[in-house]
């Protein structure tokens, strides 16, 4: 396969990187950040890929934070995660993603008590899970001390 003589790509590697960077960022923004479909792509296929990425992301989050599907129930976990992940690209690791997802559900629950964490008992378990992992230090041992600590956190 002979490279077309008109292309100076060999000498223009930084240009090639720039063009590729724009193209890849455009495609990935569509797949994970809710950007419009770039010209020339099949919108239906991108939707299949977008769903597949969210499904895989949910799989890994369920592995690093198995308590979340336990607290929410598998079906609610899946649908709530898909709603959270749509248009919210993953920027750090999966553990941070799991924390952000739980935080998002708690905020959603606080705002008019809606969503998957609206139920009081679910909300309490989720909040405890989130607090145990998001703070600068582990929660104190013992039920009373822990409860006092959480009260102080508000």
């Amino acid at each position: 396969m002979a490279e077309p003589s008109g292309t100076d790509a060999a000498r223009d590697l930084s240009g090639a990187r720039e063009r590729l960077s724009r193209a890849q960022a455009g495609l990935l923004a569509t797949l994970v950040a809710g950007a419009p479909v770039p010209p020339g792509f099949d919108a239906d296929r991108l939707e299949v890929q977008r769903r597949a990425l969210i499904g895989k992301r949910a799989d890994v989050v369920a592995k690093v934070a198995p308590e979340l599907p336990q607290i929410l129930g598998e079906t609610v976990f899946r649908s709530a995660f898909a709603a959270y992940a749509r248009g919210r690209p993953m920027t750090g690791g999966y553990r941070l993603d799991a924390l952000n997802f739980a935080g998002h559900l708690l905020e959603q629950g606080a705002d008019g008590r809606k969503g998957p964490a609206a139920d009081r008992s679910t909300r309490r378990k989720l909040r405890l899970w989130w607090l145990e992992r998001s703070g600068p230090e582990p929660l104190p041992q013992g039920r009373i001390r822990r409860r006092l600590h959480l009260l102080r956190l508000g």
């Binding site: 396969m1 490279e3 077309p4 292309t7 790509a9 060999a10 590697l13 090639a16 990187r17 720039e18 063009r19 590729l20 960077s21 724009r22 193209a23 890849q24 960022a25 455009g26 495609l27 990935l28 923004a29 797949l31 994970v32 950040a33 950007a35 010209p39 020339g40 792509f41 099949d42 296929r45 991108l46 299949v48 890929q49 597949a52 990425l53 895989k56 992301r57 799989d59 890994v60 690209p89 993953m90 920027t91 999966y94």
Partner: protein, 289 residues
């Protein structure tokens, strides 16, 4: 950095995953295993993996996060981590993917984004030049030869300039990198992109073949999902047979990452793979005899 001249004979293997560690240890005839490089820590190898190594089983680290097909230079820290794993495992080679896994950042006007999965590189001259430079940088940083894998794609890039086979052939010619050919991914690209595996196999340089991946998936609404969580299907074994009719692969590896079945089922799949290898091995012997 090495060319394609020296071939390591690996045999038949399976992707080592902690969920099936006990089963793998009990399976007969496992010559080698592959581990996801990012899932292990060089100083603290899992006991089950360590026992396999002591038994003489070769372990090959398989990276998933370098994004060699991405627009950026490969991250030196990630390369160093991969090199450390190759050394800790005394691996004869390491493998990665022809894919991009992240994009964006200040220069593109979009935030930095992680795909969390392997996404296809456009088969253009631009992407080929970038990939070749990234592969050369990786080869310099790694203590053992590198092989790169063709991925499964759901998405087609518009305005591609090369076929998959041509793209891989140019990559090998320019870098001396070896190839890890995933026959399930060739099947995926057949269903999803209408690309005939036979054409790709005819075009790509099989002398650069390091080993072959075989995996299961499923078809839904005319789209093949390379799930690694379902049984290996006959069409995938047929692509393996097409490959084996052309060359004797130095190694073949069964991948299963999800929805783990009883180990007997994996043993059955390994048996089907071995049957394809033996059938074509004897046919080649007759043809060349």
């Amino acid at each position: 950095m090495e060319g394609t001249g020296t071939r390591v004979r690996l045999g038949t293997g399976i992707g080592w995953r902690s969920e099936i560690a006990d089963g793998i240890e009990a399976l007969p005839g496992i010559d080698w295993v592959e581990v996801v490089a990012e899932n292990i820590c060089p100083g603290h190898l899992p006991d089950a993996l360590q026992r396999l190594r002591e038994r003489g089983t070769t372990v090959v680290p398989h990276g998933v996060s370098l994004g060699l097909g991405g627009a950026e230079l490969p991250d030196p820290e990630r390369l160093k981590a991969l090199a450390e794993r190759a050394e800790a495992l005394q691996a004869p080679l390491v493998t990665e993917h022809i894919a991009f896994v992240r994009a964006g950042g200040p220069q593109t006007g979009t935030p930095r984004m992680e795909a969390g999965h392997l996404l296809p590189v456009p088969r253009t001259w631009d992407a080929l030049h970038v990939l070749c430079e990234n592969v050369r940088i990786a080869q310099e940083a790694l203590p053992v030869p590198l092989a790169v894998e063709n991925i499964a794609a759901l998405v087609n890039w518009p305005d591609e300039e090369l076929t998959e086979g041509q793209f891989l052939a140019e990559l090998v010619e320019r870098t001396g990198v070896r190839l890890l050919i995933d026959v399930a991914n060739l099947h995926t690209n057949h269903v999803n992109r209408g690309e005939d595996p036979a054409t790709a196999l005819d075009e790509l340089p099989l002398e650069a073949l390091a080993y072959v991946h075989v995996a299961g998936g499923f078809e839904r609404d005319g789209v093949w999902h390379d799930s690694h969580g379902h049984a290996v299907t006959q069409p995938v074994l047929d692509v393996l047979a097409q490959l084996c009719a052309r060359t004797a692969p130095p190694g073949v590896l069964l991948e299963r990452d999800e929805n783990f079945p009883a180990v007997g089922e994996l043993e059955g799949e390994l048996g089907s793979i071995r049957a394809v290898l033996e059938r074509h091995g004897s046919q080649r012997a007759v043809a060349h005899g």
